[in-house]
């Protein structure tokens, strides 16, 4: 293994975020004080610095560290999605943690550490790095899920940990089989090997490897039938962590899923796309149908995140650069609308009383007009109604699917999307159409400047992507041009 200083450029954003995480820990230890909100801003400052170092990664693809890490538009675009997720999560958390009497520096450090793992997943061009990055991310997330030390929070953490452990096992075993079949775990070498040896596409060892990797990634993106952990974990974890998981983990897992399947396993697209076709359909349908039955907003959002994973899988099934860029735009849109929605959920709750049941939302639309407006925008966006980001995301994914002739999957996808309208609208119905009860469960909002800022940023993001998405779409299209 040879190491060059130039490689460090590729790793610079990761190093900055990692250093910020350590700095946050140190700052907490050295600065005694009750208020720790500034740590969130310290974290944000770190992410901003990392973001400033990222644009130069756009451009021709470079591989570093003996082909383990890529510096390309694909990685850079995902870094920006993850920065957005990171900044919004930190903003949302600050006020929430103080109100829940759980404000510690470790939380912010864990978010940043998970972010490093996520970024490594997006940049990884080697299956071992994918695995290490996934573990880095996951371990931080396990801890975050159990952060509140309440019964439900700990249950969520443990569930995620045990099932996640199995999933990692599948992933590792899959990597081992791929190594056995190809003699390498470097993604571009695997791709070349499949190209050079077409007979490999029918090798049981290679196919079993791909199958096991599907299970491993399927678990992380919450694809049916590997989704069973999602509702409990999403509901039990602190809401800010749920937002982080639903957007960050999903974006990171899909980035690796994309690079491994669309690049490394390009030659076997025929084999795996059929399986993923079924998974995509199951994931959309089950996610949506189960979400319809929910009466708890947080749990409903958990099932809805399964459904969104289904739409994203449609893009993966298609497997073209066009579909990949569509997924990237979708994930960015999803980050804004989902964190925005969770921010609203947090504001509706208060200490010791989360108020996540749908009934608590009765009439709050008119009592708190700004919150109502924000939540309505996020719900319409999730339902994919223009002019919001959610529409553009779905439009691009279905466009890519139609282009490759996946008519049935597209039709089933849009019908699913129509079904999902029902439960997103129900939130709006409760907020605006139901009268306020005489003694409303929500008598005030837990809103601080940072949470308000996060909601506004998310809302602006949703509308910006919905109304003038041209620039971002172009960037995403350029970003995938450098993929193998």
């Amino acid at each position: 293994m040879n190491f060059q200083m130039a490689d460090l450029q590729l790793l610079a954003p990761h190093i900055v975020v990692l250093a910020t995480a350590l700095l946050v820990l140190l700052a907490e230890a050295f600065c005694k004080g009750e208020r720790k909100g500034y740590l969130a801003y310290l974290g944000i400052a770190g992410i901003v610095v990392a973001a400033l170092l990222t644009p130069r990664l756009f451009g021709p693809q470079r591989l570093g560290f003996s082909g383990m890490l890529a510096g390309d538009g694909f990685a850079a675009f995902f870094y920006f999605i993850l920065y957005a997720v990171g900044i919004l999560t930190l903003l949302v958390s600050q006020n929430y943690l103080r109100d829940e009497r759980f404000e510690h520096g470790e939380y912010y450090a864990l978010v940043l550490l998970a972010l490093v793992g996520m970024m490594l997943m997006a940049g990884a061009t080697h299956l071992m790095v994918v695995f290490l990055a996934l573990e880095t991310m996951s371990i931080a997330i396990y801890a975050l899920a159990g952060y509140f030390r309440t019964e439900r929070s700990v249950e969520a953490s443990l569930k995620y940990f045990i099932l996640g452990g199995f999933a990692s096992g599948f992933l590792l075993y899959g990597i081992a089989l791929i190594y056995g079949a190809c003699g390498t775990t470097q993604i571009y070498d695997v791709m070349a090997y499949f190209k050079a040896l077409p007979a490999l596409t029918s090798s049981p060892m290679a196919l079993a490897g791909i199958g096991l990797l599907t299970v491993g990634f399927g678990f992380k993106v919450a694809a049916v039938p590997f989704h069973a952990w999602t509702p409990d974990v999403y509901q039990g974890a602190p809401t800010s962590v749920t937002a982080f998981m639903a957007t960050g983990v999903k974006a990171a897992a899909f980035s690796a899923f994309l690079r491994v399947f669309v690049v490394a396993f390009q030659g076997t697209h025929v084999e795996w796309s059929g399986v993923l076709w079924v998974l995509a359909l199951l994931t959309m349908t089950l996610g949506n149908l189960t979400a319809i039955a929910q009466t708890d907003v947080k749990r409903m959002l958990a099932y809805s995140s399964i459904a969104h994973a289904g739409y994203l899988l449609v893009g993966l099934v298609v497997g073209t650069p066009e579909a990949s860029s569509a997924m990237m735009v979708y994930l960015l849109a999803y980050a804004f609308m989902n964190i925005g929605a969770f921010a609203c959920v947090i504001m509706v709750g208060r200490y010791g009383q989360e108020n996540t049941s749908l009934d608590a939302y009765a009439g709050i639309g008119f009592r708190f007009p700004a919150l109502g407006l924000a939540m309505a925008v996020f719900m319409f966006s999730m339902a994919g109604i223009p002019p919001t980001a959610g529409f553009i995301g779905k439009f691009l994914i279905f466009k890519a699917a139609v282009h490759e002739g996946y008519y049935w999957l597209t039709i089933l996808g849009v019908l699913n999307s129509a079904a999902s309208v029902y439960y997103y609208l129900r939130v709006i119905i409760t907020m605006y159409f139901k009268p306020s009860p005489d003694e409303p469960a929500v008598d005030g909002l837990r809103v601080g400047p940072s949470a308000a800022l996060a909601t506004v940023l998310a809302g602006v993001g949703v509308l910006y992507l919905g109304i003038i998405p041209g620039g971002i779409i172009k960037l995403a299209e350029q970003a995938v041009r450098f993929m193998g």
């Binding site: 466009k399 139609v402 019908l415 159409f433």
Partner: protein, 517 residues
């Protein structure tokens, strides 16, 4: 062609007005109402300039504006109007003013109510002027949001059910249309053209008839739900009865027209062979709708529901005219769309008047109102006559043209449709008899006040238009003649061009191409 961007101006003035409204104090109800009326009125005046400057000799698009929107996908902000959309645009701006005036009595959440009305106007106008398929789709869907709130917040007791049904019905149809739009986009690229959603360019694209068949089906579903055509009409009576008065007026006056407009602007000219193949089927269900709507209207006990079902019947005529596929039928269809906007809109306003006084719409609760409210009864009778097509009023012209067109295409359909005219006279006049004549025996009706000045204010223009459109239809038909002619010649030309695409081979080629990828 450079000129003042009239279309963008009228489309976005209401939106800007709505944003200004956001900043107003919700307690200052008078200011909110006044401002909304001012915005709507100014918009109407500007749209009149559009009318004045519209060149009736040109059949194609006028007042076009074109700007790149999402350049890499070929999506543009591309708008323009022709003789078909001109009148619908004017109807929209006119009815919005009427609706704002008629909503003066709304007390609940006035600020949001007015806000949604202005946003709705932007959505409707945007959909009517869009010449880019994605732009159209965006406005088409965005239009749902304010209407959904108007029904859901200010509607009757079953408003939530009605609002959700309205939304989901429309969504299902439009999403399938979106898939067809995407298929069309890629067919155009496969034919070697630059990627575009530009409608005028896509008009030129020849498509094999069997592919057209499926794409027409998807577009047809979206628009048929909106029209609504029997048997997809079930959301309509719910939405109409639950919506507040002004909501019903806009729903009947403009939103339903979006369906017929969609057929004229998109489904039929894009897929002429399929449109012709489907025509007998469409005419059949249009006739079924006419008779079914009329029969169901006859047995209603609620005046508003009766008017709602009469809409199903009236829209059946419009569809019948369009699918007659000749000059009289198409012109009649467009004319009848406008008529329906005026007469059914006015009927809903009139029902609102009595509902505000009595808080009931049950026919059985009334009787002999003509004695107590003579002015109201007179206006009601005039509008009823306009709705059932009495010569001299607007309904007659449209129905006559439609019948003429239908007769040329299918005598059977014309015979059955004519029976609908008789039924319409039956249910409307019977309702008028039960409400206005006979003894004034219900005590609650004995102190009702006649029309007040505000009500005169919004009813008189409607009555005036009903007479104008009935006595001098030339004003309106003249501006649409050239467009209808061009529409039909393009339809025919494209149909013949597509016929040359050899059916089985083209189908195979299309399938093989898609499978190869």
């Amino acid at each position: 062609m450079s000129h003042f961007p009239y279309l963008s101006t009228i489309t976005f003035i209401p939106l800007v007005g709505a944003l200004v409204l956001l900043a107003m104090n919700r307690r200052n109800v008078g200011l909110i109402r006044g401002w909304t009326l001012a915005v709507a009125a100014v918009n109407f005046v500007i749209s009149l300039a559009l009318w004045a400057r519209f060149d009736p000799a040109v059949g194609g698009m006028q007042f076009m504006e074109r700007k790149a929107w999402i350049a890499s996908l070929g999506i543009q902000y591309f708008v323009g109007i022709d003789g078909i959309s001109l009148w619908l645009v004017l109807l929209t701006t006119f009815l919005t003013v009427i609706c704002v005036v008629s909503s003066w009595g709304v007390e609940k959440q006035v600020k949001e109510y007015m806000l949604f009305f202005l946003v709705l106007e932007t959505g409707m106008l945007g959909a009517l002027i869009s010449l880019d398929l994605v732009l159209f789709y965006v406005f088409w869907e965005a239009m749902l949001i304010p209407m959904y709130f108007l029904i859901g917040v200010w509607g009757g007791t079953d408003r939530i059910y009605a609002a959700v049904k309205f939304f989901i019905y429309t969504m299902v149809g439009s999403l399938l249309m979106l898939v067809a739009i995407l298929v069309l986009y890629f067919l155009n690229i496969k034919a070697g053209n630059a990627p575009t959603f530009d409608l005028l360019q896509l008009y030129q694209l020849p498509i094999a008839p069997n592919v057209q068949f499926w794409m027409f089906a998807a577009f047809c579903l979206a628009f048929a739900i909106k029209v609504p055509m029997w048997p997809l009409h079930t959301w309509l009576p719910d939405a109409h009865t639950q919506a507040p008065t002004a909501g019903s007026v806009i729903l009947a006056g403009v939103l339903l027209k979006m369906g017929t407009y969609g057929f004229l602007r998109f489904a039929m000219p894009l897929f002429p062979n399929a449109a012709q193949a489907w025509a007998p089927f469409m005419m059949t269900i249009a006739v079924v709708g006419i008779i079914y709507g009329a029969l169901v209207a006859m047995v209603q006990t609620d005046v508003k529901k009766l008017v709602a079902y009469s809409s199903v019947s009236h829209l059946g005529y419009v569809m019948l005219g369009l699918f007659a596929l000749n000059a009289q039928g198409v012109a009649g269809g467009i004319y009848q769309s406008l008529n329906h906007g005026i007469s059914t809109g006015a009927l809903f306003l009139l029902v609102g008047v009595i509902y505000e006084r009595r808080h009931t719409r049950e026919i059985a609760e009334f009787g002999g109102l003509a004695k107590q409210m003579p002015a109201y009864a007179t206006v009601f009778l005039i509008i009823t006559m306009s709705s059932i097509g009495l010569p001299g009023l607007n309904g007659f012209v449209g129905e006559f043209l439609i019948m003429l067109g239908t007769f040329l295409t299918s005598k059977t359909a014309a015979v059955f449709a004519a029976s609908g005219v008789i039924l319409a006279a039956g249910y409307m006049l019977w309702m008028v008899k039960r409400v206005f004549f006979g003894p004034l025996d219900n005590e609650k009706n004995q102190n009702l006040a006649d029309l007040n000045r505000l009500e005169w204010g919004y009813l008189l223009p409607m009555v005036f238009l009903a007479f104008w459109m009935g006595l001098y239809p030339g004003t309106f038909l003249r501006k649409m003649d050239a467009t209808v002619e061009l529409w039909l010649s393009r339809f025919e030309a494209k149909r013949e061009a597509c016929l040359e695409l050899d059916r089985p081979d083209a189908a195979v080629a299309f399938r093989v191409e898609t499978e190869n990828q």
